[in-house]
Symmetry: C2
Subunit: 372 residues, 2 copies
């Protein structure tokens, strides 16, 4: 009844009224000058270029983004005009009709966690290689804020990467069906995920501890909803008994220095001689707390972290840790996201690179022979 039907428009106003003067072969240098006003410069548009080069705006558009589509001579003229006007494309104007922003969102739980350094580096590398810009957002380890951030960022990116997300599976799946999405350090039904291969690192770590004579281990687990914490625990649980070692889980805990500190009393009470912590931050926190109590590491307690973050070799003793190939993970996540975008746009099925991303043990000073 009230649907707007067949509205007719009056003729469109003339967009470019002829600017009589300004001979095309203008006074070269003088052109760029900006007189007084405040921050004057209204950036040049393709319409300005078109006028200057004496062609249609659509021709400018093509000359600039479809090399070869246009006569070489014209193309050159247009490029010259663009340079003269110091033209730069308006990404929003381009995004509107095409729906592509050439931008990817990377959501981190906590910028303050050095774990993300290499992920970001790797991601940035892969993205810029393909001409994409990354936009980083932080969720402060809160699922709610993360959902909000994803919501906010989502409309202006072509794809999303969630790093060690705190979101629930359903929420993730929901986002995944709106946009190409990849999760890092997590596996969710129907969603692409990039996870390291824990096995080699864990095998080495367990062998290393066994060799040092440890038989009673503890795992300091991370947040209860952390997929990766669970994965690490599951792997340890599966392997340790086979080597004749006992292992207990202590946690969950917050994945920070304080989370590690807070676990000390439970660690001591458990009577174990070696601890694997969910991540390096917790390992370091635990180590510092132990040292403050006068306990010597590794004499009294051997400690192993996960990830090999920046700073894990600042401590004394330096931290032994199971290194995760974070840079590769970030890089691969972006590459996969890009594949998904192509798949969505062009129908070419994404090839997913399934080669393993192995972890490895880095032996430093925080592990040692069991006290006689």
């Amino acid at each position: 009844m009230n649907a707007p039907v067949g509205v007719s428009t009056t003729p469109e106003a003339t967009r470019g009224e002829q600017s009589v003067t300004s001979d095309v072969t203008s006074d070269d240098t003088a052109a760029a000058e900006t007189r007084p006003g405040r921050r004057s410069k209204a950036p040049a548009t393709i319409y300005d270029i078109a006028k200057l080069a004496g062609v249609n705006p659509s021709t400018v558009s093509r000359a600039l983004s479809k090399p070869g589509r246009i006569n070489v001579k014209t193309e050159e003229r247009i490029h010259a005009a663009a340079k003269e006007l110091n033209y730069r494309l308006n990404p929003m104007a381009r995004a509107l009709p095409t729906g592509r922003t050439n931008t990817l969102g990377l959501l981190l739980a906590d910028i303050t966690n050095p774990m993300f350094f290499e992920v970001v580096r790797g991601a940035e590398r892969a993205a810029s290689r393909r001409g994409y810009t990354l936009i980083l957002a932080e969720s402060q380890e809160s699922g709610e804020r993360e959902a909000e951030a994803a919501e906010r960022v989502s409309p202006s990116v072509d794809g999303l990467v969630l790093v060690t997300t705190r979101l629930g599976d359903e929420k993730i799946q929901e986002f995944a069906e709106r946009k190409p999405l990849v999760v890092i350090n997590r596996q969710v039904e129907g969603v692409h995920g990039i996870v390291p291969d824990l096995e080699p690192g864990i095998d080495e770590a367990l062998a290393h501890l066994a060799e040092l004579g440890h038989t009673a281990l503890a795992f300091l687990s991370g947040p209860a909803n952390s997929w990766m914490s669970r994965a690490r625990w599951d792997a340890l649980l599966a392997k340790a008994p086979g080597l004749g070692m006992t292992i207990v889980e202590i946690g969950p805990g917050v994945p920070t220095l304080d989370g590690g500190r807070d676990a000390l009393s439970r660690v001591l009470a458990s009577g174990v001689t070696a601890v694997l912590a969910y991540n390096d931050l917790m390992a370091i926190g635990l180590m510092r707390a132990a040292q403050e109590q006068g306990l010597v590491v590794p004499g009294r307690l051997s400690i192993i972290g996960f990830d090999d973050i920046f700073g894990s070799d600042f401590t004394s003793p330096q931290l032994s840790t199971i290194r995760t190939p974070l840079g590769d993970i970030g890089e691969r996540a972006i590459r996969l996201t890009l594949e998904l975008i192509d798949e969505y746009a062009e129908g070419t099925p994404a090839r997913v690179d399934a080669s393993p991303l192995p972890t490895e043990l880095v032996v430093r000073g925080s592990t040692g022979p069991i006290q006689p």
Copy 2:
């Protein structure tokens, strides 16, 4: 001669052909369902809402962004429709006519430097409080890449913050006249800058060292084009002699662990007993190199860093350092940028908060009495 003049258009195609069925008071819940297809959901637009609510799109626009402009009854109906369609505004479409993206760019030299943690945190806090989203970009300590990043990010943000930029003054001024721009840790003629007040921290540090008996100091300087490195050196140079101490500059060096390491031989050769490094990373690098040579810190060499970054208390001994209020700096930079944006848009002159951002000495273990 070839200017396009007075083009007339044919009637605009009907945007919304009446979708006969779908009674407005639709089957509530059932509506959201998405059938098969690939990632189907084409997001709802204000046109969809308009159709559903039986009003004009412009009314929808106003209902959504100008509360009060529209009859309460209609507004409610529109909000209901928006909710039902799970509408979310397309930021690009909004940005195009208004020229405002509600987005700010933050350019960092190196994400890997923990110095930026708190800056980013503070900035994020201030930005999101005002409904702005931050875009982080990294320049990897290269002026060229930084210019490129600024160039790339600039068109899609309302303002820019440069943190310890490696750009030249002219380049910075150039960007500043295109967009509201604030620099952190730098002062440039005609550009707004946020810098900490070095004096208190440096005074305390010098007094502390004097008290410990040191009389021969060195400053490990950072990159040659670092304004902040120069500022720190200048302040030290101005103060040290007055306290009866000698001071030499060793540098320039790269502002990383390795930069600090590499300076060791020159430090030892200089015969000083205490060193202030351009930043904590260099200080830690130097300390570690010294310890590897069997030199005891602080016995043989006292070391002070700058900034108090994450991890500066991981070392042993823990690093004494001159703390910079990084979070406040990030926060204030964003607030100022926002003021500049308002000034530009509404002409209300920006009020700049000029209260000092004092540094302070944090005494930990890396400084001690001079060896007898």
